[in-house]
């Protein structure tokens, strides 16, 4: 029987952790780009794009990430595509992130007071110009803190991809736990790994929020 030193365990977990980080970043960045498109559809003047974006967002916010991954994974293989786990994980997490980010950002756009739209309109700015020069710059400032906060949810969401076999931190942890019979130690280390990734983001998001709140009440 093979024996594992603590360093063997940690080294393997670090590899898994690197994949977790990579997957998080890819899903967050690509999801953010998709969310931008969704956002503009969601706040469009016309009904059809608004409705479609709303349906998309509600589906992804109203169903478990795990089931989204399963459906995607098995749906694509029905189409004859042999999808590797990393691809299903990346695409699934990206779609998931885009729905949440679009909704967060929409909230920011809608929290810009009506008077700002009206002031823009009274200066003969078109809807597009009001959006670009008046509303979006203000919404973006408000969006930073919740967006950083959502990054934490993305990192945590990557753990679910272990279930479809993507060898990120949690999956690596499960395999090591099974091999070493030291589940408490291994899962404890896995938890610490996630905490080290997520806590700085949470802390930063909270700080941003406090600062924004402070400037607004001045």
């Amino acid at each position: 029987m093979m024996t594992f030193t603590l360093w063997d365990i940690v080294r393997n977990l670090l590899l898994g952790g690197a994949l977790t980080l990579l997957l998080s970043m890819v899903a967050f960045v690509l999801g953010g780009l998709a969310a931008l498109a969704l956002l503009f559809a969601r706040i469009a003047k016309h009904r059809p794009p608004r409705g479609l974006a709303q349906i998309y967002i509600e589906i992804f916010q109203g169903t478990p990430l795990l089931l989204q991954l399963f459906t995607l994974f098995f749906g694509l293989s029905l189409l004859g595509l042999d999808v590797p786990a990393w691809l299903a994980a990346g695409v699934g997490l990206m779609l998931f992130s885009s729905a949440y980010l679009a909704e967060i950002w929409r909230g920011c756009v809608e929290s810009v007071p009506r008077g700002q739209w009206e002031a823009g309109a009274s200066l003969a700015l078109t809807y597009r110009e009001q959006m670009r020069h008046v509303i979006l710059p203000q919404a973006m400032r408000m969006a930073i803190a919740p967006t950083v906060g959502f990054a934490v949810q993305v990192v945590k969401g990557t753990a679910v991809t272990s279930i479809i076999g993507f060898a990120e931190l949690t999956k690596t942890g499960s395999m090591i736990a099974n091999a070493t019979y030291q589940p408490f130690l291994v899962y404890g280390l896995v938890a610490i790994g996630y905490f080290l990734l997520c806590y700085p983001l949470s802390w930063y998001a909270q700080r941003l929020e406090r600062r924004l709140y402070a400037t607004r009440t001045n």
């Binding site: 009274s122 200066l123 700015l125």
Partner: protein, 242 residues
């Protein structure tokens, strides 16, 4: 020909009939004060003149540009009609100068340099040339409202609408804003304002419009109206003020 003319203007909010056929004529250079209780439709009328409220029936004409219920060129109308709001509505992410420069640059394609010249001179008109780089949250309410006036003036509107522009101000800041308005009136700017400042309306206005239940109930020369109210409703209204 009057500068501003509305013809049988109607507006509903659901079942609520807020404007019941408004016929209003404003000559160039005239200063019109619209008064009345809350809910009389005075703010809605003002907002309709700038296309912020759609109208259900009737027409609005400003300097030859017509707006028929839900049709017409809003952008052209709004370039002729400036508006100042009760809550200032300055853009908080832009400095005072940038607030004033924005619309000329975007709507009129003015160059940045030229827009800055315009902004500096309009800010000077409201006495705030030294606040060009200040952000709205660094200004007092009165100063913010004066920047808002400068922002509207920078588009060289034919007529300026003022929607209760001193109502959100602390009492000691009211005067600096009224001074600016008085100055504009003396320079011949056409002004239509909804106001609670009766003394100001009487002193500066050429014309007083009393609105009551969605109609223009009484209008005319302010001095005469205050001295001899023609309707019991208006008499009631002014006696309730003291």
């Amino acid at each position: 020909m009057p500068l501003v003319r509305t013809n049988r203007l109607h507006k509903h909010f659901g079942k609520n009939h807020v404007l019941k056929g408004i016929n209003l004529e404003v000559e160039e250079g005239e200063v019109v004060a619209i008064v009345g209780r809350s809910g009389s439709g005075k703010s809605t009328l003002l907002r309709a003149l700038n296309g912020l409220e759609t109208i259900d029936d009737g027409t609005i004409e400003v300097d030859g540009t017509a707006l028929v219920a839900e049709q017409g060129d809003l952008r052209a109308l709004r370039q002729k009609v400036g508006m100042v709001f009760q809550q200032f509505n300055l853009f908080p992410h832009l400095s005072a100068g940038q607030n004033v420069m924005l619309a000329p640059q975007i709507v009129k394609d003015t160059s940045k340099e030229e827009a800055e010249v315009i902004a500096r001179s309009t800010l000077a008109r409201v006495g705030l040339e030294h606040k060009f780089d200040a952000f709205p949250d660094q200004l007092s309410g009165g100063q913010q409202q004066r920047v808002a006036i400068a922002r509207a003036l920078a588009m060289s509107p034919k007529v300026l609408l003022c929607d209760e522009i001193t109502s959100a101000l602390d009492p000691e800041l009211v005067n600096e804003v009224l001074m600016v308005v008085r100055q504009l009136a003396s320079e011949g700017m056409t002004l239509i304002m909804v106001t609670h400042e009766m003394r100001f309306a009487r002193e500066v206005g050429n014309k007083l419009v009393f609105m009551y239940e969605g109609r223009i109930h009484e209008s005319g020369d302010p001095q005469t109206m205050f001295a001899n109210p023609a309707t019991p409703e208006f008499a009631n209204f002014i006696s309730s003020l003291d």
